[in-house]
Structure formats: structure tokens, C-alpha cells
């Protein structure tokens, strides 16, 4: 059975990875971010599923998984206005690169390859 301590470590790792993903998006360089996003969203879903089904708590709150967010949300995570615009630009990039919305790409069963 998963223990609280291990669960906390999952959440800590997820939070670090999510922040790293946002930091990359914040630079405006979106190459391969879609692949990372899919893996990270799965990780987030697993954390939420474990929290739902096991006797574990959010000792540490996992960041909600979104790249749509809001300027308030991303500001709280430490990003400035330009970086927030770049993060939000990722959604526009995904739409133009893959011809579908970000959320649809997250649910896509086929692999989505990096675009340059």
C-alpha cells in the first residue's frame, strides 16, 4: 500500500516537473512540449486517482495541470507578464501545429511527435 510519505514525494516530483514545463513554455520555445505535457498530465491524473482511492492527503498540494490557466494563477507560480503570455501562447501553437485543441491532444491515442 502506498504510504503518505511516498505520495508526498510523487506530488513534489510532479510539482517540480510541472513548473519546469511551464518554465520551458515561458521562454516561448515550444518544441517537444506536447510530449512532455502528455506524460505530465498522466502523472497528474495518477496522483488525483491515488488521492481519490487511497487513504492519502494532499500534505503538499499538487499544482492543477493546465496551460490555459490565468494570469493570476501563473503569477502566483512566479511568472512575469511576458512569460505568462508565452505560456498561454503554447495553446495557440498546439492548435496550429496539430490542428486540434490542447485538451484533444492530451486524449489522443496516437503518439504526437515533436514539431519544429
Amino acid at each position: 500500500m502506498l504510504e503518505q510519505k511516498e505520495f508526498n514525494r510523487f506530488v513534489t516530483d510532479y510539482n517540480a516537473d510541472y513548473l519546469y514545463l511551464l518554465k520551458r513554455a515561458a521562454t516561448g520555445n515550444y518544441n517537444c512540449l506536447i510530449t512532455s505535457s502528455r506524460i505530465l498530465k498522466d502523472f497528474h491524473d495518477v496522483i488525483m486517482a491515488l488521492h481519490n482511492s487511497l487513504e492519502v492527503n494532499f500534505d503538499i498540494v499538487p499544482y492543477p495541470f493546465t496551460v490555459r490557466g490565468s494570469s493570476e494563477y501563473f503569477s502566483q507560480l512566479g511568472f512575469n507578464d511576458v512569460e505568462v503570455m508565452n505560456i498561454l501562447g503554447f495553446v495557440v501553437f498546439v492548435r496550429s501545429a496539430f490542428g486540434k485543441e490542447f485538451e484533444e491532444c492530451m486524449e489522443e491515442e496516437r503518439p504526437l511527435y515533436c514539431t519544429k
Binding site: A49, N57, F58, D59
Partner: protein, 150 residues
Amino acid sequence: MLNNQIADLIEPEIPELVQLWADSVRDDSRITSDSDLSEGGLKDHLDQVLAELCEVLRVGEIPTTRNTHEAHVSAYTRFRMGYRARDLACELSLLRMTLFNFMNRKLLNLKVDIEIEKYMSACQIINLYIDEEIRYAFSIYTEPSTEPNP
């Protein structure tokens, strides 16, 4: 399908719905956490929440943690703002009322021929979506032992 029709009614009216909701929050004397918020800060992210709800309605999915990400962002942002939990609960109650009042008025005005089972199914999705945000809010308000570091 009624779920699609309701999503089609809500989506183009999201700015109006957000404004109606914001006005009801400002008018509600039980809510005090909003007093320091600008109009933008108060409305923050609700448009994305409603867009996500429309998508969940269209797909006809039961709302779970997997399809309520923007609702979680909304609750999380309030939590980090220092919003009181009971004020967030009031806000979400007002959101539910705003949505149902809007939806019912539209359906009545359009004289849509509705099967009650389908209407109940759509209502259930809206209720469960908001309930998932409340459930998530309970967790993040009551469980953390440490503040997450940005």
C-alpha cells in the same frame, strides 16, 4: 442531443454569465474575501471554467478529476489568494444558481421540446462538475501541512 444544445446556449454567453455571476458575488453580503479583488481578479479564470464545463457537456462525460482541470485551477487560485473557504463555497453556490437560472430561462424562451430524462442528465453533469470543484477545494483547504512553494 440536449447536452450539446445546452453547451451551445452557454458558450456564446460566457462573458454575460461571468458578469451576472460577478454581480451576484459583489451583492452577496456573506462574501467578504472579494472586497480586495479587482473586477479582473474576481472574474479570473471563470471563462475557462465555463468553457471546460461546455466541453464536458458536449462529450457527455461524468465530471471527475480528469476533466475538471480548469475548475481546480479556479479553486487553487482562490486558495492561494487567501480567500476564505466559506466564501469560495458561496461563490460556487452562486455559480450553480446563475447557470441554472440562465439555462432554464433560455430553454423556456426557446420553447425547446425537452425530454425530462435528458434535462436531468444535463443538470447532473453541471451539478457534478461544480461538486468536483467543491470536493477539490475541501482537500486543498483542509489537508495541506505545508504551503506549496512556487
